[in-house]
Symmetry: C2
Subunit: 376 residues, 2 copies
């Protein structure tokens, strides 16, 4: 872990400005990680992802262990080289996607056994194997294996999964002692149960990790429950370790979570919505499938630093979406990722200047006002 | 037509080095035009298409007249602005795709009536309307409406279609007299019938066009018939006008056609094959779907000027193809387009240096040798 460190540089309310150092470079926090599920951020070249202001990407252990395989990626020199991304990479543990994608799975104290959604093979994932896979990939930040439930769930079930995840946290840490140049994060579970969330967080802090993730949110519980959980959990976590809210979220989620002390995010929304014709801009979401754009010569945002938002008309983007052109996914994903990174950059600058509350109000005001093109 | 001119700068055997000037810039010939069927080169951003050495792209009148409509594109400032491509554009007349895509069509002396493959609406296309549409699009080089048959076809049928295309050539030219800043090319037809090809070419030269296309090839007749047709037709065409071989072809087709005096090409192969995992390199075609690439750390061509060919391993490209990642289409299309433009650049330099025959032999030698990775 010699290659990993976190420095908290400034706080503004509970919002935090920081810097994670890894063997592959620096991550300015709060940071948004585009998702490269299968070792590729969908419809984006890695040099573009970087140019839009990305410090770190996430890749999914579940997908990569099944195809092309962790050992194969290790033979090829690791994930950074494989995907031509020489900058920081965080990998999840595979647990979440075993739950959501595998057609058949069995969980016991030892780990999870599941059927591959690709070829039907039975695959076993233990806390130790999840660590080993992430070492083979060469991630800068690895995640412990956990069990993630869909909400709502019975309290007893939530408690069982939380305690299992804690046991796996200890085993993951032991399996990880040898690791140089990468950090292992523990994951707070406990569903929507305040006492379980606090218990989980305290127990993980006792085990001690270089960073803490908050998992099991954005799985159907609604933004209020999510924010209430953050209000409970972040005060339990040590100030000198980064905090990662997994799988979140919308631009509003990001601002609200940063205002509650979160440092790291990942989400498929910018690229998934990009492939479905939905653009994020400073003035809210724009559905480019809508026929009202068909004759609109204006770009999505003439003031964007991103060429895709500035140099192509809404009429053209609408046409590309209707015509099922791959270029639609490419351009709108770029627009969305640019906006997400611009938002993170704005938050970092606002915290540095001690004006995060103002920044938050300004952003919310623009979203409330709505897309400028709808108003003119 | 004041904006259009052609200068023949040098010949080497029958191969020609030239320059087309248009209102939107210069086209160095021999030139390859990537195909932007629906106002987008598939899976490529226009700035990338340009950066890979492209002077001119082709767009398809048939697709654009149906969606988003020629009048709509005109309202939006024309095709160059619409697709963010401020460089030269050639449009076809729509005739070829009426034949190949419309589920229902009726041809008579006046023109063709067909059912849109998008919404079933009946649409009429006459020589005059084809010119009007291309004017609305704002093309730099427009094509006359012609009737293109699939080969083999009966001689009587080929003759009928050729004569109809000649009549439409005259009407197209009359409809085009007013046009400023764009050229109209006539299209030589006549199938695989030598006497009809020569008659068609002579008649078009009598009508007089600023450039001549050779159509109705690469429609199933085989390379030998195609090259024999070029041997017959190019001597009939005036040396001071550019010659465009429509819809062709493979890298070998391009070299053979240039050696017979052709100046302009378009073909979907580089981008279509790119979407299907097939790469073109200096050493021939590489099928990246093939499992033999799964562990291969080598790039497609370490000496390519194209990042996609140089900075990504075959193993990674194989993975992207297997995983159906859009990035596979993006990278392999770029590899292919880069190779096509590198080939054209090599041909232009060879003609300038008076060593086209050597260049042709060297290229054929590399293709015959095969992909370097297969041999090592």
């Amino acid at each position: 872990m010699s290659g990993f460190s976190f420095q908290l540089k400034k706080t503004d309310g509970r919002a935090r400005l920081g810097e994670i150092k890894t063997a592959h470079g620096v991550v300015r926090t709060p940071a948004f990680m585009p998702v490269g599920t299968q070792a590729a951020v969908k419809a984006m070249r890695p040099d573009e992802v970087r140019a839009l202001g990305t410090d770190i990407v996430l890749a999914n252990t579940y997908h990569l262990m099944l195809r092309p395989g962790a050992e194969r990626i290790a033979q090829l020199g690791g994930l950074h080289k494989f995907m031509n991304w020489p900058h920081p990479i965080l990998t999840d543990s595979g647990g979440f996607q075993v739950m959501s994608l595998s057609p058949l799975r069995k969980i016991d104290a030892d780990g999870v056994t599941f059927r591959s959604h690709l070829d039907g093979a039975m695959v076993a994932l233990t806390p130790e194997r999840a660590v080993e896979i992430q070492d083979l990939l060469g991630s800068d930040i690895a995640m412990q294996l956990d069990e993630c439930l869909r909400l709502p769930a019975e309290r007893a079930e939530v408690e069982r999964a939380m305690r299992l995840s804690l046991a796996w946290a200890e085993r993951s840490k032991r399996a990880s002692e040898h690791a140089k140049n990468r950090a292992l994060f523990g994951i707070v579970q406990g569903g929507a149960e305040p006492s379980l969330r606090i218990e989980s967080a305290r127990a993980l802090v006792d085990i001690s990790f270089p960073g803490y993730a908050i998992g099991g949110l954005a799985v159907g519980e609604g933004q209020e429950v999510m924010l209430a959980t953050l209000d409970l959990v972040t005060p339990v976590l040590p100030a000198d370790r980064p905090r990662y809210l997994m799988g979140v979220g919308t631009p509003e989620d990001l601002i609200e979570a940063v205002s509650r002390g979160i440092d790291l995010f990942d989400c498929v929304l910018p690229t998934r919505n990009g492939r479905h014709g939905l653009a994020f801009t400073r003035f809210g979401a724009v559905n480019l499938k809508n026929a009202r754009h068909a004759g609109d010569p204006r770009p999505l945002d003439p003031e964007s630093a991103c060429s895709a938002a500035r140099d192509y008309s809404r009429a053209y983007l609408h046409h590309l979406v209707k015509a099922n052109e791959i270029l639609a996914a490419m351009l709108i994903s770029a627009v969305n990722l640019a906006y997400y990174q611009e938002l993170m950059d704005g938050m970092r600058a606002a915290i540095a200047a001690g004006r995060f509350a103002d920044f938050r109000e300004e952003a919310r005001g623009r979203w409330a006002r709505g897309d400028f093109a709808a108003l003119t």
